[in-house]
């Protein structure tokens, strides 16, 4: 296996999802609040 050909995730990633956000700031805030409320974080 040629190590030079291995992919390097998270480095100069091309955007394949356009404007879509996997986790928007609003969703992240809501999720954190929920997890804090139930004592998970």
């Amino acid at each position: 296996m040629d190590k030079k050909k291995e992919s390097k995730p998270n480095q100069e990633e091309e955007n394949f999802i356009g404007e879509e956000e996997l986790l928007s700031e609003e969703e992240e805030k809501e999720l954190k609040e929920k997890l804090k409320y139930y004592g998970y974080i």
Binding site: M1, S7, K8, P9, N10, Q11, E12, E13, E14, N15, F16, I17, G18, E20, E21, L22, L23, E27, E28, L31, K32, K34, L35, Y38, G39, Y40, I41
Partner: protein, 441 residues
């Protein structure tokens, strides 16, 4: 590519399905006649591994093509950490979003929440709400409280809500019905994702069989090392309405037969509708399960092969079937789909499995998996050896510490991973250095 030439894509996750229990992989009892038939028409991967032992990070690894540590979600919801959310936000590839942008109708006939539901035109939430994760969080919290109760109180509680649980029986049948309904309503290419959970404990596609088993709960508890884990195991028996291991095994096998039958029904639907040969059909499992191996009962925690070795088959129209013995992972599914669609390579951890259609090429020397139910544990595995690192934290589910801090197995002499041969140093230790998120290596 002309939109009409795009193949339909179907991904079926069969929850917690273990290769060692399927005749397809050599088991004696045939539970899987339909899956076996599909495998005989597919690229069929014998040494495939999930990248996680937990459903959510595993599903995320399939859609992102990345190991949980690189995608961000290592832990099962709701145990996800704040720093994981920071990494998730940075991702730029997600299969359902990509396919939607390519003109596919996208249906998840299974409950999904937050990032997992991104890109789907339709998501089936069993609780009937759009914000399934809120209820999931509440339900998980209630489960956590219930698990702390003495098991006889738990038993009373389960009896009180038994009618509620009836709605959850035969989930596979309902998912397949919904998938057929959505496909029938659709024009143009579709992507259907379904996650069939009846093969997961407590195996509710089948009634608890009325058989006497020799291995009673009492006998099982003699082998369980900690009080918290004993309580957990008692509740797992309550959930399955069983008194012996043999009863649970038979119930699980009958549930597997029921799910296999539903997969067969879906296959026949595609055939009768004349779209089987316009559809890429992928069947895999999100993780395995432990039925007492390594003293872990009816959990899929632990980085042993029982929890991470998973079936994988990809039926591609007009492609010659082939059995592949090389190491593959569920993270390879998305890059494979992209190559089928004629797209360029994406910068993820997974690799297109179409390489095996050209020659017997080795894609990787080792596979990795990450524990979703304790703070940090992970494994690296070659064809002959495995190293597991564990930070010593307790299992979120049963409160036990599964395994030792460093375990190494010679998989040729010891395929069941019974004898830890770690001697203070391992050649596999430096393999973890490609992941920057952990201090274990």
């Amino acid at each position: 590519m002309d939109i009409s030439s795009k193949p339909n894509i179907v991904i079926i996750i069969v929850d917690a399905l273990r290769p060692r229990d399927l005749s397809l992989y050599g088991a004696q009892r045939e539970l899987d006649s339909n899956i076996k038939r599909i495998a005989s028409e597919s690229l069929f991967f014998k040494k495939n591994f999930s990248a996680s032992d937990a459903s959510d990070p595993s599903r995320a690894s399939i859609f992102s093509g990345k190991y949980p540590a690189n995608f961000g979600q290592i832990h099962q919801y709701p145990y996800i950490k704040e720093n994981e959310m920071e990494i998730i936000k940075k991702n730029k590839f997600w299969l359902p979003v990509y396919l939607k942008n390519e003109g596919y109708s996208t249906f998840a006939v299974t409950p999904l929440y937050m990032w997992l539901k991104k890109g789907f035109d339709y998501v089936e939430n069993s609780d009937g709400t759009k914000e399934g994760y809120r209820n999931v969080t509440r339900i998980k919290f209630i489960q956590k409280i219930l698990l702390k109760l003495p098991h006889f109180v738990y038993r009373i509680g389960k009896w009180a809500v038994k009618d509620f649980h009836k709605d959850r029986l035969n989930q596979a049948k309902r998912s397949i019905d919904k998938a057929i309904s959505k496909i029938n309503e659709t024009e143009g290419p579709f992507f259907v994702f379904m996650h069939l959970t009846d093969t997961h404990h407590p195996y509710d596609a089948a009634e608890t069989p009325k058989v006497n088993g020799e291995t009673s709960l009492k006998k099982v508890l003699e082998t369980v090392p900690t009080i918290s884990q004993k309580e957990y195991v008692k509740k797992r028996f309550v959930d399955a309405s069983a008194k012996s291991i043999e009863q649970i095994t038979l119930k699980r096998e009958n549930s597997t037969i029921a799910v296999d039958k539903e997969i067969g029904r879906f296959y026949e639907f595609l055939k009768e509708k004349n779209i089987l040969d316009k559809t890429v059909l992928i069947i895999l499992a999100d993780h395995g399960d432990s039925f007492g191996e390594h003293n872990i009962y009816y959990e899929h925690t632990g980085m042993y092969d029982v929890s991470v070795h998973t079936p994988l088959m990809i039926r591609i129209p007009k492609m010659k079937p082939k059995v592949v013995e090389e190491l593959t992972q569920n993270i390879d599914v998305s890059p494979t789909i992209l190559e089928i669609l004629g797209k360029k390579k994406i910068n993820v951890d997974g690799k297109s499995l179409l390489a095996f259609t050209k020659k017997n090429k080795k894609l990787r020397n080792e596979v990795f998996a990450f524990e979703g139910f304790c703070d940090d544990s992970r494994m690296v595995r070659t064809k002959t050896r495995k190293l597991i690192l564990h930070d010593g934290s307790k299992c979120y589910l049963c409160g036990a510490i599964h395994g030792e801090k460093k375990e190494e197995y010679d998989l040729v002499k010891d395929p069941l991973e019974l004898k830890n041969i770690y001697s203070g140093k391992s050649k596999l230790e430096n393999k973890f250095k490609k992941f920057k998120d952990s201090n274990l290596a």
